[in-house]
Amino acid sequence: MGFEVLLKGNNVARLLGGLLAALRISLVSVVISIILGVLLGVLVTLRRPVITAIYRIYLETVRIMPQLVLLFIVFFGSTKALGLNLSAESASIIVFSFWGTAEMADLVRGSLAAIPVIQYESAASLGFDQVQTYRYIIVPQIVRRMIPLSINLITRMIKTTSLVMMIGIVEVLKVGQQIIEANRKSSPNAAFGVFATVFILYFLACFPISRFAGYLEKKWEN
């Protein structure tokens, strides 16, 4: 079946190392995306025409452009055009944060817009000032809406990290390919075993996260 190649040398450790590289890129990007995305989402809620216009263009660009193209533009393009010497990992983090920030901002904007005006008014009529209204009534509702959605974004990012091998990062899929190549003679069936293992690794990384999102969604559906 091709699983035997995993037992050779330190192949398992190498695969796990590749997974770790993927997780590192997605986690750093998610943290950056949440911070910038919340800021941008709140800015957009102010309804200034210029901000809204820039935001719409940004969001559409991110959604239309394949992540791989963005990766190539940032990694290869910046070297040529701007003379920057970005490492592949930095380039990946920039692209994933660029993407994640847009998605997060849209989640924040959507969650804020979904809160009815009457929530603000009834808080005001009870005597809450503006800061207290946000702290006790608006933000808790937004967080409940957003956390499950942003966790889904994390799993989507982890999946998409498989693209970064295209700019030379040795993540889990790349390690898998290397193992298959190295053992082509001794284990011609290695492809199935190795890719199946890669699949299981992605599953193990994403499934608990996605279950956790589902659990929170259920808990907070009120």
Partner: protein, 248 residues
């Protein structure tokens, strides 16, 4: 009886559209004032102005000696004295019923949590909902939510209660359970301004009736005269629109 609320010659317009002009109203402690009128006559906007949810262009609103001004620094503190219940269910969806009731007293009045919960449970018992204390708003019917909303306003010990068409969005059989609570509050001497379309209820609860139309107070008086012997044609016509006669 001492005056608790004085509305002096207030005017309100949205952009260029005048909602009402030169409106005045004095409410005494313990009085129940019921405002009726056709949709769009400005009665809800009038209530919202009293709570400074809408900005007035002219005039003054004085509650208990203090002027209510949307720009005032102490606006939140004055609003504590005005309880308001809206037409749409406005409970906080992320909190249980008990938490909905205790949030404002604990965070704003700095009431001890245990005392606030004790008071909340007493109120819930009075409106027949003590078994719902740990439920979330979405698990309650419309009528139950409105009773909780009334209790939530009462938890701040307001000087006056503003009820803005609180049964307008309810199924007919739920209207009763909410209005019974309001009747109960009237009997115990709460000061209230009630905007409603329920004429039978208005008649039962009002110390004073006010008929508004086109941004003006057209007629006011005690409930019996108001309903049985209206002075103006306009009010007679309005009241008549609630009557149905069978044609054989």
């Amino acid at each position: 009886m001492e005056t608790i609320l004085e509305v002096k010659n207030i005017s309100k317009s949205f952009d260029d559209i005048m909602v009402f002009e030169n409106l005045s109203l004095t409410v005494k402690k313990g009085e129940v004032v019921v405002i009726v009128g056709p949709s769009g006559c400005g009665k809800s906007t009038f209530l919202r102005c009293i709570n400074a949810l809408e900005r007035i262009q002219e005039g003054e609103i004085v509650l208990d000696g203090e002027s209510i001004d949307p720009a005032a620094k102490n606006l939140s503190r004055i609003r504590e004295k005005i309880g308001m219940v809206f037409q749409s269910y406005d409970l906080f969806p992320h909190l249980t019923i008990l938490q909905n009731l205790t949030l404002a007293p604990v965070k704003i009045r700095r009431t001890n949590r245990r005392d606030a919960e004790k008071e909340a449970l007493e109120f819930l018992d009075r409106v027949g909902l003590s078994n719902k204390k740990d439920s979330y708003p979405r698990q309650l019917s419309g009528g139950q939510k409105q009773r909780v909303a009334i209790v939530r306003a009462l938890m701040m010990h307001p000087e006056i209660l503003l009820l803005d068409e609180i049964t307008a969005a309810l199924d007919p059989e739920m209207v009763r359970e909410v209005l019974d609570v309001v009747l109960d509050l009237a009997r115990e001497g709460r000061t209230m301004i009630v905007v409603t379309h329920e004429m039978q209820f208005a008649r039962a609860v009002a110390d004073r009736m006010i008929f508004m139309d086109g941004g003006r107070i057209v007629e006011e008086g005690n409930a019996v005269e108001f309903f049985d012997a209206p002075k103006t044609d306009r009010l007679r016509k309005f009241l008549h629109s609630f009557d149905y006669e069978r044609r054989e």
